[in-house]
Symmetry: C2
Subunit: 408 residues, 2 copies
């Protein structure tokens, strides 16, 4: 029997009614001839509640202990979901991340999956059981529990799909697919039937909170096709596939916004070799993702260094930069968290010059100033004032006629 990996987010298993609905969906997949592996997140707000409990005791609890605490959230979900499936008379077993063979490094609260040992999962499947695996968590070489960071359950699902050579990896969310823009913002936004891993990766990184970027990266590396679909209906969603399977007619696939951004500006950084390395390696050591980086040349032996981080890392970044500032002799540090990033993504962009220019033009027409520009082969991002981001998204969506069906 082919293997199907499904992933259900926290809102899909938030209460008994939803949990039972998910159980039915899993049973349905089993009945239609699949060996089913379901990856589940913690119920509803459980993770946040556990974090609150920890903060009552310590403002900065040891990360290892935080993972020990947080991993209970998924453990509760998998046990309850397994009970719901067993109650319907189907053979089922729940597995923690450790039991599911999710082996990670030891970067607690943000661990990376090193390898998946699917022996136990395969054994249970071969004995006819539905297998429920705790998302978001794994085990390191010391036998300690780790968590993969926000949205890590997607990564668990894709990693298992790759290790099990699953037919497909279905990610169930509260939206029914990937859109050309956020439908709450742009009424003409259109659901995409397909999108390439590369495009989805840019979209995921840029704030379309549907799939975790790391999960998409993993899917791209291992050639896993992800099916993003709604847990509240039967409709097909969006297939996230390898590039070779894609028609390249579409220049721009979607436009996204990201409000989770803080601009950090280091003023008068000594312009000598190794300084940038020292700054960014200090941030990397704490697992802080630095996004746009711009270095501007000045007169004299100094330079200005600008980069962006996400809001979650704001406090830690301030602390680290604070420690480095004196040591490196940086004159001044400016932070701005009232910015947003608007981006266009499209695999066809690299063969179509002028796309970036068209985006800049559209922003200019609407009187929106661009603070920072960052580009890759398949995306263009602009940092703008947060209060203007809705206008920007709508204008760009219209400009590239993303609401219209493509006629090849």
């Amino acid at each position: 029997m082919p293997i199907l990996v499904q992933k259900y987010g926290g809102s899909s298993v938030a209460d008994v009614v939803r949990l039972k609905a998910v159980a039915q969906r899993i049973i349905q997949a089993k009945r239609s001839g699949y060996n089913v592996v379901a990856v589940v997140s913690a119920q509803g707000d459980t993770t946040d509640e556990l974090i609150t409990k920890a903060k009552e005791i310590s403002q900065s609890p040891p990360k290892r202990e935080l993972d020990m605490l947080l991993s209970t959230g998924e453990q509760i979900s998998i046990a309850l979901l397994a009970m719901a499936i067993a109650e319907e008379g189907h053979a089922v077993i729940s597995l923690t991340g450790a039991q599911g063979g999710i082996c990670t490094d030891s970067l607690y609260t943000r661990a990376k999956i090193l390898r998946v040992d699917p022996a136990r999962v395969k054994k249970e499947l071969s004995e006819g059981r539905i297998v429920i695996v705790a998302g978001f968590q794994g085990i390191n070489d010391m036998g300690d529990i780790t968590t993969l960071g926000r949205g890590g359950s997607d990564t668990t699902a894709v990693a298992l799909a790759a290790a099990l050579e699953a037919r497909a990896c279905e990610i169930y969310t509260d939206v029914d697919g990937v859109y050309t823009a956020d439908p709450r913002l742009v009424p003409t936004a259109r659901k995409l039937d397909e999108i390439s891993h590369g495009e989805m990766l840019e979209l995921a990184s840029l704030g379309a909170a549907i799939l975790q970027p790391r999960a998409v990266e993993l899917a791209a590396a291992w050639g896993v096709t992800i099916h993003v679909r709604s847990s509240f209906g039967e409709a097909l969603g969006t297939l996230v596939k390898g590039d070779d399977q894609m028609e390249k007619q579409r220049v721009v696939s979607g436009v996204t916004r990201d409000l989770n951004v803080v601009k950090v500006m280091l003023v008068d950084v000594p312009d000598r070799p190794g300084v940038a390395h020292e700054i960014f390696s200090a941030l990397a050591a704490e697992g802080i993702n630095v996004d746009m980086i711009v270095q501007t040349t000045k007169q004299g032996p100094v330079t200005d260094l600008l980069f962006t981080i996400c809001q979650d890392d704001y406090a830690l970044t301030r602390q680290l930069i604070g420690e480095l500032r004196e040591k490196l002799g940086i004159t001044n540090v400016l932070y701005n968290d009232r910015l947003a990033k608007v981006s266009i993504v499209g695999a066809g962009m690299m063969s179509n010059p002028g796309v970036a220019a068209a985006m800049f033009g559209t922003l200019a027409e609407h009187g929106i100033n661009i603070e920072v520009i960052s580009t890759s082969e398949i995306k263009v991002s602009c940092l703008i004032e947060a209060c203007k981001v809705e206008t920007a998204v709508k204008a760009i969506h219209d400009r590239f006629r993303l609401g219209e069906e493509l006629h090849v």
Copy 2:
């Protein structure tokens, strides 16, 4: 440094304030020169809340999944307690039952500890850390999480104390020691400074809900001295020690009552070899503890078989006996759950004839009818009407002058 094992129950870690108080107590023990291993239960009513969650989904959830669920309770406690200790600047690590090396059989929800592998605990202690271990849980040979049944945290603590050759095993509870009778019932009840393992085992089995019987059994087998004391003060409690350390002057050490009892009466059981075996092995296979067993001879080829079980096993026992009844041709089955067991316990009893007779006489004087009698070398138990148990306990306590200090 000598090793000290401490165990804190669910009420001792029920909220942030108590959790911090426990952290202080552990740190104090560390400061006074011990390597401390603290075993912790789930916070307050957590376990009951988790059971309620499970029951919302299934009336009889798979036991393996129930253990997967319930074990999260202690995992939350250990993480939070470790955070509280770390917050005070002390090196600390929390370990699940599995990480703590608690290896059990696979009788889910009632697993027995097969062995303790203390390697990880020893390593952490040798690196100067306070070690917090989740009580009540372990891991079986398949790598699956098991739980030890109600009160299993005591067993975890004693097993660790034995494996680590700890100096002592302190069990912190909400009472300050072992009494000659329940002080809420008998105002003249006296706290015992010492009691033997054997006596404590009888007391524990007979409903003095201070220590889990299995924990006492384990302590007796491995020669672990248990110090039962209150988590809300500094007073010394009761030492539960090996028999050789004991003065044997006391004939009766205490009187207990147990309301958690159901009498099962099988009427007209075919009197052929193997029938009793079939009945009791069916109960044992489900982990049901059968207590008093009385078989009465009748005229003809049948016999009556009477035994008692605890209330928790009532439903399951009815089901099993129901299945066996037709098969074995038992005429009738009677249940009575309005009974109570009153018992006296004392290591000196075996060398003092007439103790049992004195107890029966006291009950008779108070017009209390005895339904069933059961004795061991160091205890006498009588099954009586539940509504008369308080009178019985007080009368027996007086009769043996347990409220008076012993003058050797």
